[in-house]
Symmetry: C2
Subunit: 330 residues, 2 copies
C-alpha cells in the first residue's frame, strides 16, 4: 500500500516551525508521509529527511481571511491546501489562523458537489465517550438542510476517524422536547427525524461534557460559542482551583497528593488528543489544529488526518450526500 | 417605611413546601414581609406566623405552560403573581416550573408598556466579579431592538440589585470584531453602539466565567444554552475530579487536605447566592429560583426581590425604556 501523504503547513501556529516539524517527524511512519510546506532555509535544518516544498509567504494569526485570500496564495498554508486540491497529498494539517484556513480550503481544495456548506467537526473533550460537535464555527448562520448535512458528515467522521459504529445523532437545543428551541432548531427537528440518520432527538448543552450523543449538530455560531465556553470554563475553573489550593500550606500539601488525579483528569479532557478541528465537505481532508498545538497535538492531527484519508472519509461523505440529495423529495 | 411584601409560591419547586417556607421565615425582617401562597392546611403548621393566602391548585414541574395558563389560574403560582399584578405585593418568588412562571408573569402581572419582550436576567457564578446574562431563556428568537432593551433592563438590574454603578454592557459573540457573529449579532452591534448604554463591544463565551462585562446581552436561545453549559461543565468537572481523587488512598488524603479550598471555590460559584433568575420587563418583579433551591437560595431570592422592589427596578426599567423609545429615530 502506498504511503498516505499529509501536507503540513510548517509555518502556521504559535509554535511554528519547531513544534510543528517535531510533530511531523513523530507522525512519520511506514504508512504516513508528512510533507512540510514553508521556507526551505528555515525548515531544512529541522526536517531530518522529510520532504520540503518551498513556500515563501506566511499567514499571520491575526490576518483577515479576505485579505489572505487575495494576497497570500503563495503562503505555506495555501500551498499545503493546493497540494491536496491537486492530488499530491490526501490530507492537510495547519495550526494557523482558522478563518484563513477555511478560505484556503474553499479556494484550493473546493467543495464536494452535493455539499451546501462545509462544516467544522470537533471531537469534544468529554467524559464517558467522545462526542463530535458539528458545526463548530464554519457557518455562523445556517438552515435546516445544512444541519442535516452536518449530521451526515459528522456520522462518517466518527465512523472512520473515531471508529464508532452506528453513530447516534442529536440536535443541540435548550430542552429535549421537539417544540423547544429557536426557529432553526424547531424547523430542523422534523427534517432530522425524516432523514436516514440515527436521530435521537434534542440534547441540552449541560450534557455536552458528559457524552450527549456521538454526533451533536448545531449552527456554527452556537457550536463555536459552546466550544469556547466549555474550554474557557474548564480552564478558569482549574486555574482558580489551583489558586485556592496553593493559598494555604495545608492546601499545598493536599495539592501534591492529588496531583496524579488532577493530571489524569486533565489528560482525559485534553483537546490535543484529537489534534484539533476537522473541516468536512471539501474534496480533501483538512485538519485545523489549535494555534498553540504541541508536537503531540500536531502528530495526532497528522495521524488522524491520514486515518481519515485511509478510511476514505471524503469519498464516503460525497457518496452519502449524493444519495441523500437523490432521495430527497421534490 | 412600610414593609415590602414579597409573594412566595410556597408549593413550587422540588423541595416545596418545607424548604420554601423555611427560606421565607429566614428572609422575614423589619423591612421584608414574605406572604405564602398555597394550601392553607399544609402551610399553617410550618408558617410560624407568616401570612398565608390559600390557593388550591399546584403547578407541577413538568406541566406545559400553555396547559397551565388554561387550567391552573387558581394555583399557588398564579395566585402569587396575581398578588403582584393587583398591587398586594411588590415582588414574587417561585422555585416552580420556569415556563409556567413566564406564562403566569405575562398573564397576571403583564408587560410594561414600552417593553417589546420581557427577558430573564441571571447573575452568573463568575470569578472576578458578577456578570448578568440577559436573556437567559425567555425569548428563543429575538431581534436587535430586543437585545438593546435587554441591555437597558440588565443595566438597571445590576445597578439596583447588585449595586454596580455605571455598568458596562457587552454583546455575546464568537469573536471580538464587530463583523464576527451570526446575523442577529452583526445587526445588533451597531444598534448597541448607537444607544445610550456603556457598550464595550463583543465578548467571547470563553470569558463568561471570568467577568466578561457587568451585563452580557444575547438572545434567549444562546443565553439558555450558555447558562446550562456552564452549569453542566462545572458540575461534571467537579464530580469527575472528586471521583479521580477518591480512586486512590493517596488521593483521598489529599482530598481531605484540599477540602476547605474546594468548598471556598464551590461557594464562589454557587448559583444560590443570587437566588435564581429575574424576569424583567413586567409591571412587577419576578424571581424564578432553581427548582432544587435550598432554604438559603429561597431566602436570598426573597431578599434580593425585596431589594429590587425597594430600588424601584420596575419603575426605573419603565422610565428608561420610555426614554429610549421617545429618543429613537423614526
Amino acid at each position: 500500500m502506498p504511503k498516505i501523504r499529509v501536507a503540513v503547513d510548517a509555518m502556521g501556529g504559535d509554535r511554528a516551525p519547531e513544534e510543528v516539524v517535531a510533530g511531523a517527524l513523530a507522525a512519520a511512519s511506514e504508512s504516513v508521509e508528512p510533507v512540510l510546506f514553508g521556507r526551505q532555509e528555515v525548515l531544512a535544518p529541522l526536517a531530518e529527511g522529510l520532504e520540503i516544498v518551498h513556500a515563501d509567504d506566511i499567514v499571520a494569526m491575526d490576518e483577515k481571511p479576505s485579505d489572505v485570500a487575495r494576497e497570500k496564495r503563495e503562503s505555506s498554508m495555501f500551498a499545503a491546501c493546493r497540494a491536496v486540491g491537486e492530488g499530491d497529498a490526501q490530507a492537510v494539517v495547519s495550526a494557523g489562523n482558522t478563518g484563513a484556513m477555511l478560505a484556503a480550503g474553499l479556494l484550493e481544495i473546493r467543495r464536494l458537489p452535493d455539499v451546501h456548506r462545509p462544516a467544522i467537526a470537533v471531537p469534544l473533550p468529554s467524559i464517558g465517550g467522545t462526542s463530535v460537535l458539528i458545526d463548530a464555527g464554519a457557518n455562523a448562520d445556517a438552515r435546516p438542510e445544512h444541519l442535516v448535512q452536518f449530521g451526515h458528515m459528522g456520522s462518517v467522521f466518527v465512523e472512520e476517524i473515531l471508529a464508532i459504529a452506528d453513530p447516534k445523532v442529536a440536535l443541540l437545543s435548550i430542552g429535549e422536547e421537539p417544540e423547544k428551541g429557536n426557529r432553526l432548531v424547531r424547523e430542523t427537528h422534523p427534517v432530522l427525524e425524516a432523514s436516514h440518520l440515527d436521530f435521537v432527538g434534542n440534547v441540552e448543552s449541560r450534557e455536552l461534557l458528559a457524552h450527549a450523543a456521538d454526533v451533536v449538530v448545531c449552527d456554527g455560531f452556537t457550536g463555536n460559542m459552546a466550544l469556547k465556553l466549555m474550554e474557557g470554563t474548564v480552564k478558569t475553573l482549574l486555574d482558580e482551583f489551583r489558586k485556592e489550593v496553593e493559598a494555604s500550606p495545608r492546601g499545598k500539601l493536599g495539592g501534591l497528593l492529588i496531583r496524579p488525579a488532577a493530571r489524569s483528569l486533565r489528560k482525559r479532557l485534553d483537546p490535543d488528543t484529537y489534534g484539533g478541528a476537522y473541516l468536512l465537505g471539501l474534496r480533501g481532508l483538512v485538519v485545523i489544529a489549535h494555534g498553540s498545538s504541541s508536537r503531540t497535538a500536531i502528530a495526532n492531527a497528522i495521524t488522524l488526518g491520514a486515518q481519515g484519508a485511509a478510511g476514505n472519509v471524503v469519498e464516503r461523505v460525497a457518496t452519502r450526500l449524493e444519495e441523500e440529495v437523490a432521495a430527497a423529495p421534490g
